[in-house]
């Protein structure tokens, strides 16, 4: 049963140098027609399920004007929320304000995710971000004052020319914000980004590795639980929405370039705005049992606790040890197991992909 929805807002007031996601400059007219199409997509597809998690991401959802946000929430009125739910809204420090936050609060948003990325002005400039750490502190304070107690901040590391000391400072600053969820991403210079076009080079692998270890150790020392390869949270504040992905559960994806997983089909909407508005298009992947198991493993092993063996059996009626080369990977000590779960050995998670490719294809 579907109980999660992702909604994509592709507009931004500023394009960051590293961003490879579906996005474009904010434009009033486009927002208007986009919201109409979004409404159509939701109305046509949503089947009245009781929803436990909603995630509004971007782009920059907070780049919408207050009246546009109101319209967005009107569109979402048809969605039936469960008693216990998690409703996340992504914001950028420079375009979130009290008025917008109050509107979010009134419309049921109970989790804010802020793109902090760094607290170092030099690195923020490199990333093409338009805020500084003082603004972040002010906005986090405001968010808390308005009663949001579930806050995530994103941190990017391994930025070219970043030093270990820069990262230490970033971590100290971010910890000082006293939020309950931190996502950290090692910078990938991907095609179709400003950094890629400028032929920027990734930081040395050894430094990247050292930084990852520093993050894991520092955050754990400060009471965060490392529960997914790049996510840390205080107890009880894991992202329920993201866990839906990693648990290989179904979800709706609405909006430009959004992905969803419904009735054995994984789909991705077109990321061309015209196509989305005028002749709605999407790519679909119809999953076989084998595909589902493959996804179960490559997603499930992102979690530090890995995959619950009983749940796996209940879902697929096969012992997890019998699929792919799980046994061999256990023997080689890339995987480990306890009574309930099977997971990637903690000192091997930084080479996760090399392990996950075992679960691809034949």
């Amino acid at each position: 049963m579907v109980s999660s929805i992702y909604i994509h807002i592709p507009f931004c007031s500023n394009i960051c140098s590293y961003c490879a996601f579906t996005k474009q400059f904010y434009n009033e007219k486009l927002v208007e027609s986009y919201l109409k199409s979004l409404k159509k997509e939701i109305d046509e597809n949503y089947k009245n399920e009781l929803i436990k998690t909603i995630y509004i991401g971007g782009g920059t959802p907070s780049s919408l004007k207050i009246n546009e946000l109101k319209e967005l929430f009107d569109i979402l009125k048809i969605i039936k929320l469960a008693k216990e739910y998690e409703f996340t809204f992504e914001v950028n420090p420079e375009n979130i304000d009290k008025e917008k936050l109050i509107l979010l609060k009134e419309n049921g948003v109970n989790r804010i995710s802020m793109g902090v990325e760094s607290t170092n002005l030099k690195l923020l400039n490199y990333l093409g971000r338009k805020h500084d750490f003082n603004l972040v502190k002010d906005k986090i304070k405001l968010i808390k004052e308005l009663g949001f107690n579930n806050i995530n901040v994103d941190l990017i590391y391994a930025i070219p020319n970043e030093t270990i000391d820069d990262l230490k400072k970033d971590l100290d600053n971010i910890i000082s914000l006293n939020v309950n969820h931190i996502s950290t991403y090692s910078l990938m210079i991907e095609p179709h980004t400003i950094l890629y076009i400028n032929k920027e080079k990734n930081i040395d692998e050894e430094i990247d590795f050292e930084m990852y270890n520093l993050i894991c150790n520092t955050l754990k020392e400060n009471g965060f639980n490392h529960y997914e390869i790049s996510n840390f949270s205080k107890f009880g504040y894991e992202s329920h929405h993201n866990l839906v992905y990693w648990n290989n559960q179904e979800y709706y994806g609405f909006g430009l370039g959004a992905s969803g997983y419904i009735d054995n089909i994984r789909y991705t909407n077109t990321n061309i705005l015209n196509e989305y508005i005028n002749n709605f298009k999407r790519e679909e992947e119809i999953l076989s049992l084998k595909d589902k198991i493959s996804y179960e493993l490559i997603l499930g092993f992102r979690k530090i606790n890995g995959i619950n063996k009983n749940d796996f059996y209940d879902k697929y009626k096969i012992d997890i040890h019998e699929v792919y080369n799980i046994k061999e990977l256990l023997e080689k000590e890339y995987l480990e197991e306890n009574n309930t779960n099977i997971y990637i050995k903690y000192d091997k998670i930084y080479i996760e992909n090399s392990i996950l490719i075992n679960f691809i294809g034949e």
Binding site: Y6, H8, F21, Y55, G57, A158, T184, Y185, S186, M188, E205, E206, D208, F209, Y212, I229, S230, N242, V244, Y245, W246, Y251, G253, G257, A258, S259, G260, Y261, R266, T268, E283, E285, S294, Y295, I298, L299, R302, Y334, K348, I349, Y350, I351, E352, N353, S354, L356, I357, I360, G361
Partner: protein
Amino acid sequence: MEQKYIRNFSIIAHIDHGKSTLADRILEVTNAISKREAKEQMLDNMDIERERGITIKLNTVRLNYNYNNHDYILNLIDTPGHVDFSYEVSRSLAASDGAILVVDATQGVEAQTIANMYLALDNNLTIIPVINKIDLPSADINKTKKELKEAFGFNDDEILLTSAKTGEGIKELVEAIIERVPSPDGDINKPLKSLIFDSLYDSYRGVLTLTRVVDGELKIGDTIKFMQTGSTYLVTEIFVYTPNFCKINSLKVGEVGYVVASIKTISDVKVGDTITLEKNPCDEALPGYKPIGQVVFTGLYPTETNKYNDLREALEKLKLNDGGFTFEPETSEALGFGFRCGFLGLLHMDVVEERLEREFNLNLIATSPSVVYQVLLTDGSNIMIDSPEKLPEPTKIKTISEPYIATNIFTPSEYIGSLMELCQNKRGIYKAIEYLTPERAIIHYELPLSEIVYDFFDKLKSISKGYASFDYELIGYKPSNLVKMDILVNGVKVDAMSTIIHKDFAYNRGRVVVESLKELIPRQMFVVPIQAAIGSKIIARSDIKAMRKDVLAKCYGGDVSRKKKLLEKQKEGKKRMKQIGNVDIPQEAFLTVLKGEE
């Protein structure tokens, strides 16, 4: 045609001295072709020949010329110009009675001038020395004359001057051929005796056998016998090439032509064999040719593994008209199925590789060329090794000997010092220096063949700004301090990367190989030692650090299909690599070692 009106001759020269252009002018003067017809260098009909300015395959043209009111037939038997093809040179010379020795007036006598001259003298040919390219401003006729006189003892008035470009002196040359080259001897009344000196495969007619009748006559309808193989065939057609194929009814003593018989495969035709008649055979076969040895070996592999059969077919077809190379199937751990091919020399190897790629549209990977080593085992037996992988364990080896060559390097005097240094670095043994003139010298060295198979020629040319030329002949085997250097990846020996190398060079080479492999092999999930070893002794080592970052961080907006695609791509990349010792090795890594690149 009566014997006394026939002349069979060849043209010999150092590469690029204008042999083919001269041949074209002779064709024009004898009206075999008009000037307009003359694509540049008519006789070189392979693309590579025309581009490289060398003649590889034999081509024999029958020309008509009226001199002093008599019609003459002149058979121009073409020869390859390069030392590697001395086998083919000698077989075309065996069908000739005279040779035109062409020397470039701007270059003078060079290495292959001498080598080819000696081959011609071995065949008792009458030599007509010709100084060509006299039209060029930089031509130095006097100096060239002096060199010809000093090197071979010609007289001033024997030497002809030509410009193949302007046509000057060509008529005189043709008439000198008639006057000086003897007519073929032999007896029309004796039983047929005819020398096979080439064969080629034509997709319409099948096998064409090129032959010179030494005694008797060969007619359509004759049942002929190849004396060496003992097989018999019915002659169905006879051609001469003018340079168009013209049918004739018979070949008489002294004549040269192409014979079509019911021959199935080209391998039935042994160049050097003697044709006679089945019913009325001659007593004794012609001496034939000494069998040729392949001195340079390399592995040839198709880039796409499914092209193996195409490669085999191509090699078989090429072999039809190039007896000089050999091939046998070979399997390489890294490159899959291919062939170990043997060649007469380096240029021969290049030409065959290029013909395979060009005429047969194949993409090839060639491994680093190697020579044949003679290995004396501790049990007293001798074995020949043409590939490092076949070398026995060091404990079973008493000595390894390698082929040596004697080389004559022709050079302007100013490069003598640098060229000697080059030879010294290649383990050369100095023999002598001869001055042809104060400005030109011949340096004599003995060198291990293995040292010249790789980059000697390129270095020689670059040191001398292109002016030096060299020629070599094999002088036999000498024991050397040779070792087999193995490469170990994660402790496992990679057979395809083993090389035979002089011990003094092993440490250096080992370090270079290990360092370049370190760059070419991607990081793995664990530390991977790369080692170079001689037997059990490690001579160089470098470690590939363990992979540090292999995580797709952001699983954005639930777009897990994209994540899967990226993993699929990563898996594809891994599949293309060869797994040895649990390590994924990309093909470039093998190639770098196999090609001897640095």
